[in-house]
Symmetry: C2
Subunit: 296 residues, 2 copies
Amino acid sequence: MRRAVGVIGLGAMGHGVAKNLINAGFEVFGCDVRKESVAAFANIGGQVCDTPAALAAQCQVVIILVVNAAQTDMVLFGDDGAAPQLRPGSVVVGAATVAPAYAIELGKRLAKSGVGLIDSPMSGGVIGANEGTLTLLTSGPEAAYEACNDVLDAISSKVYRLGAQHGLGSKIKVINQLLVGVQIAAAAEAMALGLREGVDLELLYDVIVRSAGNSWAFADRVPHILQGRYTPAQTALDIFVKDLGLVLEAARASNFPLPLASTAYQMFATASAAGFGNEDDTAVIKTFPGITLPGA
Amino acid sequence: MRRAVGVIGLGAMGHGVAKNLINAGFEVFGCDVRKESVAAFANIGGQVCDTPAALAAQCQVVIILVVNAAQTDMVLFGDDGAAPQLRPGSVVVGAATVAPAYAIELGKRLAKSGVGLIDSPMSGGVIGANEGTLTLLTSGPEAAYEACNDVLDAISSKVYRLGAQHGLGSKIKVINQLLVGVQIAAAAEAMALGLREGVDLELLYDVIVRSAGNSWAFADRVPHILQGRYTPAQTALDIFVKDLGLVLEAARASNFPLPLASTAYQMFATASAAGFGNEDDTAVIKTFPGITLPGA
């Protein structure tokens, strides 16, 4: 009999993860509120469930691929949530970037009904999910790992096992997001200054990606600015309002100063409040005054 | 007869450049105020000159490898400076990172006595200088290029020819330094938060360099923090006080806001005023309170 795995949240990330599980021979159940996501999942051989509760009744391992802690809570403990249907010994793999304190609390709540939690923020984005090359920053109890090692291996190329305590992966993911957020905002600031100074932007990009000023974020995102392409192919700007908010929340818990993360947060919040929250995260450059962007 | 090229400033960068010129068959004249730099240059076959003036009398092409605009001005126009000795038709290659406005002004001053200027900020650091793999961000008049193309090619693997107007290379170099400075400061902020949160720092580094949070600066500099090594192997912290100062000065000329560069400048200035200006630039992490750094 094939092992049954559930995927809650069939967006760009969830679809790729589900595809790799199906290819690895698992029987994959999925649910999502968006009809087109469900249809795409059915198309690749997934078993559609109407609710998280219906899904949980079928699966020993459930991966939650939603955006944040609030959605994680809703699909587990809200109306028709998965948690009440999960049997003792089953495991939840939580993939959302959440505050470490939330991951610890969630582990305790699930443990009360004998359900294990692997806290597993993911790095690698939509491409990594699609190609099965995600990096997983996992932590959780040994027994939970034993129940889902094969699932984790099927969707990733690298599984960090950081320890038994929940939230360790979230701590590292949150710090990664600090750097990505600051570096996307810095890329926008650098290109905005280049425009203001009359520098050829294609040339500027060409030089920087070969120079010490390069970053993964610069190389990956600046082409969106050069092409005037602000549809959110990868991540919407509001994701960084949320993730930099999480970074600041984590630091606030111990009164720790984060000058650059604070500044980057203000830049993304300014862009979001100006109406660019659903555009590509590089739309943060639209808050710089006195320049005319490519494609504008 | 071998072509004579002068190198003013025989520090780590100048020494590497001189070595590659000697290896390419040029007769290389050099001067520096530091005795040990001069001795190292003589050792690899360089012709030592006592003053920039004495050097300029021998050379058709003079490369100036000093730290900033003030030093460039001094070796050209100060006591025993090179400028009065340079013959019409000779060329100065200015390598310091300077404000674009300074490069334009310098070009005009030299042109009055028929001397050409190639404004040529360099990327690639000490390693690039030593291996002859620098990237040169050059601009200047065509006649000046004709007099020094062979020299530029001998010391670099990539020569960007950005146009006739001086200062174009400086504009791009200044923007590159904005990114490097922000990204070194962001790397320090991220590692400081990791320490505060009790994350294993080696693991954090290992994950980030494989993740979207990576940057050239993070990968290159964070090992200094992990090893507690703050001797300035590459660049002293005060270099970024200067270079981010140049970035802000360039933007101030057109009232342009640079939120991240301003914040990073404040971080480096705080570290410099606290007494860390001559340490490695990663010593900016020492301004974060409430953490105990590796090696401390």
